[in-house]
């Protein structure tokens, strides 16, 4: 049967089982929107800005194991979407972004709302396509979904010119896809797996360092079993939180720039390091030569060969999907007669206990000023540690990562790689739509929330009862902290003046707003907010404006060159 390109596009989304498309209409996608209108299977969520469409699709994908889908128009629709696409790219999140394009005969003529979408997005997508013929739409979208989800996941953009969406072609959705130039390795090499197990068994001071790859490959169960069998301490990256239960006694907390003392010291002093779906980035290991200055053996599991030996040389590399490789390690480990060296590990854990006793996440609570850490701890208590928590970027993000102890994967939704302010609220929309009955909290700051605050309107339209936890310290706190540490307290443009009345603003959008100014009101306000299951509640916490995030490994320093709160 012959269908128009627009009909084919929607049929493909239906075939892929797409539940939600996040988007914003415009001239170049009118035919596609017309087809959306004529059916009910694929639901469209109208955002207020294209960046939010992509973040919402991203939040949807991160909190499920599905591909997020966004639909935007040409020109400004695409450029607005770029930040969202780059955010997903840096964190390897599977997305398919469909963009309209000016008619093929206009391409290159600087037509109205024309940009080179494929060119603009090329450095921040896993792959992209310009579809020039309606007969290619189905095969291209099939490839797009496959590419987004397989191997190292990532965003894929499909640019469809307006005339192509209006011309007819025969439709049949391909059952399989084969791309001769793309064959990601899923199974790990068994020889390497055996070498890794031997190395781990001989370790005196083993350490497991697990990242976002564990979450993306749904390998939390396998990882937890492996860590228990090895008896080793386990740390998570910012992207990996929830990949290993925070309440487990072998968990030493997050590592990196704002990681715990025990996690960072463990990284620096272990003799065998097992890196699982993590990429040794600059916020994680700090100064590379400092990290390399002590000898240790490194085993690195990653689906992307290019992530291995990129910043740190490794001894055993295992390319493959984390879930498969960790299962392989478990199998070999279980069948081995040798057991981990218990005597050596006893000393190792004694050393870790010593580092732990530094209590690097301790803070002085106050009865006068609301401490942001206290808000997050109370949030954890009120939600029984069971909420989906999205965040924006800055101090509040670090505090949420440090103090909300995630026991489950896909619960912690944040922009780790790109560090995109404005991510939290739209991401929470995607999470809430994916999990209608669940508790969803968006931890944000008064700076970040204003970067996509218009989405309060979307939340109203779709009745999304998100709880916005704004840690309002009247500063771009992380910028202010760096200025305090490294720029002589010159707070150049890091203050937030002329702030809106967030309570009134929330009310203006049809939501509930609560102002919280006293520490004694924090718990009550959170209780009240979460009791209102059908309403979005915006909690404006006026927090201590001078609070800093500790511990801190300053940029360019080594993991053991840490600033602890008590040092100051």
């Amino acid at each position: 049967m012959e269908l128009t390109g627009a009909e084919i596009t929607i049929r493909c989304l239906q075939e892929e089982g797409v539940e939600y498309v996040f988007g914003y209409p415009g001239g170049a996608v009118l035919f596609i929107y017309d087809e959306l209108f004529k059916q009910e299977q694929v639901k469209h969520v109208l955002v207020r800005h294209e960046q939010a469409a992509v973040h919402a699709a991203d939040g949807y994908a991160r909190s499920t194991d599905k591909v997020g889908v966004a639909l935007v128009t040409s020109g400004p629709g695409v450029t607005n979407a770029v930040t969202g696409i780059a955010t997903a790219y840096l964190d390897s999140i599977p997305l398919v972004v469909i963009s309209g394009q000016v008619p093929t005969s206009f391409i290159g003529e600087d037509a109205f709302q024309e940009v080179d979408a494929v060119g603009i997005t090329r450095p921040c997508v896993k792959h992209n396509f310009l579809v020039k013929d309606p007969k290619d739409i189905a095969s291209t979208l099939k490839k797009a979904f496959y590419l987004a989800k397989s191997g190292r996941p990532g965003p894929v953009l499909v640019d469809i010119p307006k005339d192509v969406s209006n011309q007819k072609a025969e439709f049949s959705y391909p059952a399989t896809v084969n791309i001769r130039s793309y064959n990601p390795q899923v199974q790990g090499d068994i020889g390497q797996i055996k070498r890794a197990v031997q190395m781990l068994l001989e370790a005196k001071r083993p350490m497991v360092y697990a990242g976002g790859g564990v979450i993306l490959s749904d390998a939390a169960k396998q990882l937890t079993e492996l860590v228990h069998l090895l008896g080793a301490p386990c740390t998570n990256t910012l992207m990996g939180l929830g990949g290993f239960p925070a309440s487990d006694k072998q968990f030493v907390g997050m590592l990196g720039m704002h990681g715990t003392y025990e996690a960072n010291m463990g990284m620096q002093n272990c003799d065998v390091l097992l890196a699982v779906g993590a990429r040794f980035d600059d916020r994680v290991i700090g100064n590379v030569s400092h990290f390399n200055s002590v000898p240790r053996k490194i085993i690195h599991i990653d689906i992307d060969p290019a992530s291995i030996s990129k910043r740190v040389k490794v001894d055993v590399s295992i390319v493959g999907d984390v879930a498969h490789v960790v299962s392989g390690l478990l199998e070999v480990l279980k069948s081995s007669k040798q057991k981990p060296d218990a005597t050596a590990q006893k000393d190792w854990w004694k050393q870790i206990a010593e580092w732990r006793s530094a209590n690097s996440l301790s803070y002085k609570n106050s009865s006068e000023l609301i401490k942001p850490q206290y808000v997050i701890e109370t949030l954890h208590k009120i939600t029984h540690g069971d909420a989906f928590v999205t965040s924006d970027v800055g101090q509040h993000q670090m505090w949420a990562a440090q103090y909300y102890k995630f026991d489950q994967p896909r619960r912690w939704i944040n922009s780790g790689g790109l560090g995109t302010m404005g991510f939290g609220l739209p991401a929470a929309m995607g999470v809430q739509l994916a999990h209608p009955g669940a508790t969803v909290a968006c931890v944000t700051g008064e700076g970040s929330i204003q970067m996509n605050i218009q989405e309060l309107s979307t939340c109203k339209q779709y009745d999304l009862p998100i709880k916005v936890i704004a840690l309002n310290n009247r500063y771009l706190g992380m910028v202010r902290q760096w200025q305090e540490f490294f720029h002589g307290n010159r707070y150049s443009h890091s203050y937030m003046d002329a702030l809106p009345d967030f309570v009134k603003l929330a009310e203006a959008y049809g939501h509930v707003g609560i102002l919280v100014e006293k520490p004694s009101d924090v718990e009550g306000a959170l209780q009240e907010a979460f009791a209102r299951k059908d309403k979005l509640v915006f909690l404006d916490f006026r927090t201590d404006s001078t609070e800093n995030v500790y511990p801190m490994v300053p940029g360019g320093k080594g993991l053991s060159e840490v600033i602890l709160a008590e040092d100051l």
């Binding site: 450095p123 310009l130 130039s181 793309y182 992307d304 060969p305 030996s309």
Partner: protein
Amino acid sequence: MRHIISLLMENESGALSRVSGLFSARAYNIESLNVAPTEDPTMSRMTIVTSGSDDVIEQINKQLNKLVDVVTVMDLTDGDHIERELMLVKVRAVGNDREELKRMADIFRGRVIDVSDNTYTIELTGTELKLDRFLQAIDHALILETVRTGASGIGRGDRILKL
């Protein structure tokens, strides 16, 4: 160190820009790059001459392999290979220089492929070094124009780059 990387990629619009974009985005060097379709018109073969430390070259190979349009990558420098570059040089050829330039072209096994009253155009193939040497050997003031393809490379014997 100088490396010659050869790759097969889908002959699709935009494929070249993915490769060149990768080099600029990740701050890798490109000394030269050439590309043309192969005997299989759906595939193009590209030769890139680049330089960098062993770590950088390893990353270049891996990052190239990661591009969805790239079918296969080979670092020719890892083994025995042959490389050739084509150069066309237009020189001012009048009076005594006419004889001298012809002789020099012969010595370098070049051919004069276009003649006018005042100029020769000389075609020369060989390694990058040989072409450099030819340019050094003739009077610099006589050179009107040069155009070079950059190196193309192929493995020796059974070293074959194919799908």
